[in-house]
Symmetry: D2
């Protein structure tokens, strides 16, 4: 009898991150995939990840609409609470053997608690990392609820063990997002290979990309609530002023998400920047192709730390959001400051591309995760190791 | 301006445990108490803690009915999810400066997440202990969400620090439940000082207590779901056979709670045990008086490990529920086995009372917690220490 | 392609009422049954209707645990709110062509709103009746949300039309509960045909039933909250005093349910009545057999008005709960008053059995409902007729 | 002791409608206002009614964030379910003597059920009207749950009585929205009296309003889900083509709301219409001033039927949304058809302004409602009148 593996995906970036593991689970002879799609992964204004999944061959076993509106700190806990109520019913009906939760978004706590309280073994992908924001509270709390840990780097493995988890329950599989990067990296270099304007629409200028371009992806920082507007404006002003062809991506949903989005919208309507095109979202592999062709990625997304280290894409990383995460030689860190930001971008424009780095794995994480899910002993009872 | 301290109490045993801290907060010149009463603390069939609180001078700022019915593992996560939804609204309206969550019951996770996600500093009372059941997952996860840790013993303090919390955020205050024990211990010895049958009703035989008596308090173990019935029957048969005057307390609410309760009810109706009286609940100080006068406490409650160590009451502790908790010389541990259980009870009947022990503090925890709440720097931003 | 018919059953009495329609839907060549089991129908302490359903060949398509605890008026709206949240997700995933909701329990409003708001055609079984309690608000509100009305009597049909529903959407099918009564009535008369003590356990005396017996089924009345205790005690004292063999059934869940139950439990433990046996629940057909053999049914259940009119079972109906419902010649109405109650019981003991009556249909309601569900035009858009 | 009157406001248009009643309750010597603000009334992207209320002197007693995201039919029932869960807790804590619910938006059902199930007398403002969409199901269902009915016209009064409500519980107070219209109408004619661009920002062209202008307010129709896009485009194309100065208002939240909004946004970005300015929202009295100065209002908002009849503002009413509502001589009804629409607009441009009409009351509804709330007998028990 196949083990039923229930993976709960709650956001578009989480899908990108776990996609190769989903495929490997689906293809594994001893596993049956139960894909649950919830939260912003179902919503158009966060990129309708559900449609991407279906297009890429995944059929959801259940959908849970649980995003509660509110541009302040109320939305995150309530969305988690509603998710917990409903995911319990979903797990009751699906009866999985193992539940998999991905990374550290606030609403992943709902998945973790539902599984832990229902005595279903829980696997956590991407624990043990350090960032210094609310994600960190979430991430380590999920570690304490999880029974298996599929971590993305050696320092993450050590940290999970130091948190009191039994070493034999912690596996450094590398990060599944690198799997995708490896596929892309082997295909093409230095050009997107498609017309992003035509394929993804979006709004704003349509600068010529053939001489090189910047990519921007900047999320609000939940613990710096109230500063999101100013933080995004610094980047908008700097990048606009530099006048290079730029592809800008809207941020994902979070407390503060609306503040960032509305600042971008306001800036765009007022200044109509002549070299910037804005995208709502993009299929993960197209996004990676764009990054691979970029002169520099600017922002605070983990993609800069993670996929870009493997791809060797230059990154200017802003502020505290990726603080203390493992990083390769492709990252320059700067504060939210126009001068620092411009100077760092210019440095990359004048430097050679950084070498590839495997700090987040070698590109076989999805397959390794599936193999582990097929073989780990089923258990939900653990105790701290010290 | 006074700091507003919101304490969320979700169950009768948690109230007993935090009571002296509530009083100290209420009396503190720089603090304002916001007491939120939720979950089983509002329900008659779990002892209506709300009425005890009101009788003892505490006025709730809000009530949240969030217990969802179901005798299986579905009730715990859904109760937590609903609690999270509603506590968010409560915190939004009360706007506390610090939220306090108590111990490790499953639904305390709702309090912890609401505060953490709303960027309200969170204090956790009684983290860092070890038990080896689902409570442990909850307890350590709450530690990773909390900003201040008021722990009950030195080994707990060390464990919280090892979990990556900054040492200056971890305070060994001792356990507030010991405060109550100290008051009682100073008052009387070796007799309850009241007629428990008259004051608390209950059902069953009314044995003469003047020659000594046993007390039983045994909870279901959530990770051993499905075994609760047999575990309680072992104790029922053994204690019934021994024929000593016995005061038996119904367990609290948990997944499996109904199974234990119905096993007790079934046994009682079938065998009508001649020396056992059954109580639904009791005011905490009367309960401590009863314990102080007992020949032995039997069961798996933390009161045996904690208050009884300070009071020097002999305890026979059953099974894994208190596994690895600090304990004094007053505890004999046994498996769920009739022969072992009887032999351990007999050993205590023939031994002198054990000495007092201060492993869980010296009886001033409530006051120390209030003083700390008045003085700790307000912050909700932390990162792991390693 | 078969029409998918989603029937939501939320309580044991509703199941009894709709059972023959469920069977007819399941057997219908053009229909596919989607049975959703929710609320107290899932809970042991309300008779675990789910187990009866499964035993009788129905496989639930989804289960929803949504009963929130609280012995006061808070539990009913919150249970409905949680039901609405979760039934929406269930309907989203099941995609039925028509949703069927049964009768007028408070939580049926969740089913009705979910379907109406999701633009799924809604059929309501048993609208148009009059009772004068909270059920009436619910019942008529559901009528205003429903697209088809399968009513149980001619006066109910007229009332639904007067409420502004288009006459061609209102069908007097008779009540499905009569279908079951017809089967039973054709089988046996004047004896249960089984040993209820052996088959259903229960507690209390085991009076000899061979010389005739009474049956009692009395529910709390939600709008008379706070009086439930006294109302049940009147019946307990009267029936106990009369000393006839009596089979007593616990009431179902409602705000106040616990009050009634605890009054019964308290009376039983104090007085240990010598001629009364107490049952938690019974399969519907066994229950009807018991009624058919009874000298008299006492209480305020609709079974007295409905099934008993077809069966010709004498009934003493208490208080306002069935006020203004259609009734046959088998009902004597009395107030909550010991003298009136005793006198009415004695009158039936001395009178011949009343004749059968078809005010609630001729026993083919289930089949007629299924046929209508297969043929009514699918629509969810309506307007008031005046 | 003052009667506590809890009014639940869930949306910006409902606030406008009930505002004078809120003021009259607040000023009434025997009443205490408990204002609960919920759902889209709290959200920026639906006009942040909460801020308007606070600016206008109302202090909310509680806030409930219960809008669940999803651009399809899932959001409406779930938002209602969550509202029901939380409003129950709010009412439990506020303990009002009467609850007031306004009109017929889907989420008002949450208020109605919470009050009805908690045995709190419920007053419904604006029942008895006819529209032929989902609002109608909601409106009449709320009527069946309500104990007092404050209706806005004589035909509404008759309809509520025909629905089986006791005539002495139904009061034709007129519509409170007319109160505001009366104040405005007495102040100024034929010019807004303020610069709407400066005061409210918004986006798009800034046509000169001094020679007359059109106003557009068109909502999606929930039962015509899927057609919202085409329906709004018909109006966009027609109005754009006519080239008159136009002030366009975004629609409110509903299933389908996002579809309409995104169609407007898409049209605007593609065609950049030269004579149209777009507003997100406006204070109700400024909005009425704008209407008073307009050549014609186009759309399907009830403001055209209601306030504009009293103000004598010409209206072209589109489609079924206001079907069968009472209307004065100021309304021309057309289908969603460009030719019909243009022709009707032209007719108004060439005709004199219609006379004032009092079908919706004389402008003292707020005061009359407050007086009734102070004097109606408190009761929550009713039965259908036939």
């Amino acid at each position: 009898m196949k083990r039923k593996i229930c993976v709960v995906v709650t956001a578009r970036p989480s899908y990108s991150r776990i996609k190769t593991a989903l495929a490997a689970i689906q293809d594994h002879p001893q596993l049956e995939l139960q894909l649950v799609v919830a939260a912003s992964a179902l919503l158009d204004r966060y990129g309708a990840a559900i449609e991407v999944m279906q297009r890429e061959g995944f059929v959801p076993a259940a959908k849970v609409f649980n995003v509660i509106e509110g541009d302040d700190l109320v939305a995150a806990p309530k969305t988690t609470g509603l998710g917990l109520l409903e995911l319990t019913t979903v797990l009751l009906n699906l009866k999985p053997d193992i539940v998999v939760t991905v990374a550290d978004r606030f609403e992943t706590m709902a998945t973790a608690i539902a599984a832990a309280y229902m005595n279903i073994p829980l696997a956590h992908v991407q624990g043990g990392e350090v960032t210094g924001n609310i994600d960190e509270k979430v991430r380590h709390a999920v570690t304490k609820l999880a029974d298996y840990h599929f971590v993305a780097s050696e320092s993450a493995r050590e940290r999970v063990v130091r948190l009191g988890e039994e070493p034999e329950s912690v596996f450094n599989t590398g990060c599944p997002s690198i799997d995708l990067a490896r596929e892309i990296a082997d295909q093409i270099v230095n050009e997107p290979g498609f017309d992003p304007y035509e394929r993804y629409g979006g709004v704003g200028a349509r600068p010529d990309l053939s001489k090189g371009y910047l990519v921007v992806l900047q999320h609000p920082v939940t613990t710096e609530h109230g500063q999101a507007r100013e933080q995004i404006l610094i980047t908008l002003r700097t990048v606009d002023r530099m006048g290079l062809p730029t592809l800008w991506f809207w941020p994902n949903v979070d407390a503060g998400g609306d503040e960032t989005s509305s600042a971008i919208r306001g800036y765009r309507e007022k200044h109509n920047p002549a070299h910037i095109h804005f995208f709502k979202n993009m299929d993960p592999d197209d996004f990676l192709r764009l990054l691979l062709g970029a002169r520099c990625l600017i922002g605070n997304s983990s993609v800069g730390i993670r996929e870009c280290s493997f791809l060797g894409v230059p990154v200017v990383n802003l502020g505290s959001r990726q603080e203390r995460r493992d990083r390769g030689p492709n990252v320059i860190d700067v504060a939210y400051d126009e001068a620092q930001l411009e100077s760092a971008i210019r440095r990359w424009l004048e430097s050679p591309r950084p070498p590839r780095d495997t700090v987040y794995g070698g590109g076989d994480a999805g397959k390794r995760i599936a193999d582990l899910l097929a073989t780990v002993p089923l258990r939900f009872h653990k105790t701290i190791s010290f």
